[in-house]
């Protein structure tokens, strides 16, 4: 039996950010488990936006959490880059989306109105502006908009990051600060205990005082064996990547962004397809056509590669942060938007895990809300 103070199961964006925060706060001996290669790795497949756009429509606490996280990104990246020596290609010039039809625009106008009202009711803001075609076009002088674009929105303070460099930087810093990264082991069984939890993997057995489960859809399997239903569901997204171009698009849109390396990433699809991570021609075609409808120049680029990944969705879209009923030393962290929320996962979630007192601003993100 190998012992630790805290074990984090899941080395993706959520687990790595939380593990990093734990070692930054001198939480003792912390182990970070990452599954063997071959399983779904949604943290390596995402789009890389850092945004609060359209988040929290039915949950003002989440809208607030996402906005605060976006504002934390600059400081988070600066510290991470300093500690790790890895540039994470963060750009915070704002974000946006183009509207291809009046109906699409009306939906976003209404969403923005509701989110602004919710924000003002809690004494905050939702700094999103709806723009007509001409004003939207001025945000990206080097890109010519397609004829169908009727307008767009600008999301102040949002941005994008290279999620792969970010994950690497978080893991490296975790290790450099004394955390122990344990790759290639699968957790088979968790035996809860008041002061000591046993974690059995396919290779070894570990004991810890506190356990953090941030294993994406893998958490469903682990928690199911303890009789806990997390209510997570899979949602597939597919995207395409083009060859590299000089910097042309200064802000990331929901469906198209240009990376720091120059590639264009295209795609914002949502599908119910179980855990199938294959790409499909019809969805890619639709994504490509809509991308080209926004920016006709995309049609002249090469489609270099594409992939699909399965988002970790909660029923209401807000994150899930809770302890397991009857076990206040087993923490569960799950949900979509692990890139946007990484600063919060590194800064606030570790404090909750260390001192055991759940902060007021995340009290609403518990399991109880799904058991009605």
């Amino acid at each position: 039996m190998k012992n630790a103070d805290i074990i984090v199961i899941g080395g993706g964006a959520t687990g790595a950010a939380t593990g990093l925060g734990l070692v930054r706060n001198s939480a003792g001996k912390v182990l970070l488990f990452d599954e063997k290669p071959g399983i779904h790795r949604v943290s390596r497949a995402n789009f890389g936006l850092t945004t609060y756009m359209c988040k929290g429509l039915n949950d003002t606490a989440y809208a607030d959490w996402a906005l605060r996280s976006t504002y934390e990104w600059a400081g988070f990246a600066k510290q991470l880059e300093k500690e790790s020596g890895i540039c994470v290609d963060l750009s915070l010039n704002g974000g946006g989306e183009a509207f291809l039809t009046q109906e699409e625009m009306q939906v976003r106008v209404e969403m923005t109105r509701v989110l602004k009202e919710l924000a003002s009711a809690r004494g905050s803001e939702y700094p999103v502006t709806i723009l007509d075609r001409a004003d939207f076009s001025r945000l990206m002088p080097k890109m010519k908009l397609g004829e169908k674009v009727v307008g767009g929105m600008f999301v102040k303070g949002a941005g994008h990051v290279n999620p792969l460099f970010m994950l690497r930087a978080m893991r490296k810093t975790f290790i450099d600060r004394g955390g122990k990264f344990v790759p290639g082991e699968s957790v088979m069984e968790i035996l809860p205990g008041k002061s000591n939890i046993t974690v059995k993997t396919n290779k070894s057995e570990y004991g810890c005082e506190k356990l953090v489960i941030a294993a994406g859809h893998g958490s469903t399997r682990l928690m199911g064996r303890l009789g806990v239903d997390l209510h997570l569901y899979p949602q597939r997204g597919q995207l395409l990547v083009t060859n590299r171009m000089p910097p042309l698009l200064p802000i990331p849109l929901l469906r198209v962004r240009q990376t720091a390396e120059g590639t264009f990433m295209i795609g914002v699809s949502n599908e119910s397809a179980g855990h199938d991570v294959r790409v499909t021609v019809d969805v890619l075609k639709d994504q490509a056509q809509k991308g080209i409808a926004v920016f006709p120049m995309l049609a002249r680029l090469m489609w270099v590669r594409s992939w699909a990944a399965v988002r970790v969705m909660t029923p209401d879209g807000s994150p899930l942060y809770d302890t397991i009923p009857g076990h206040d030393n087993i923490f569960i962290l799950a949900g979509h938007s692990a890139i946007s929320l990484a600063p919060m996962h590194a800064k606030y979630i570790p404090l909750w895990i260390i001192n055991g007192k759940k902060p007021d601003d995340i009290k609403g993100f518990g399991l109880g809300r799904f058991n009605v």
């Binding site: 890109m143 060859n243 590299r244 171009m245 000089p246 910097p247 042309l248 120059g262």
Partner: protein, 97 residues
Amino acid sequence: MFSSYEEKEKTVTIILDGRPEKVSEGVSVAAAVLGTGEKHIRRSPVTGELRAPFCLMGVCYECLMEIDGEKDRQSCQVEVKEGMKINRQMQVTGDCK
């Protein structure tokens, strides 16, 4: 830098950056150009950095060259042909409008 491990009898002539070059028949454009002694075949459109073919099996997209008037071809995936016009992409152009 590179040389052929097997001297082939048959050659074809390609036009590389406007000059004729005799290269082995049946090889890829990327291999042929490297075989002429060129070390770099393009500049990164983002940083202007000098680049060269890397994986030579169609994955990395580092070997992009203009072949018979078409830019950004994966030169490791194209076989040399007699009279083929190949230009290295050493100019960074940002024209996209």
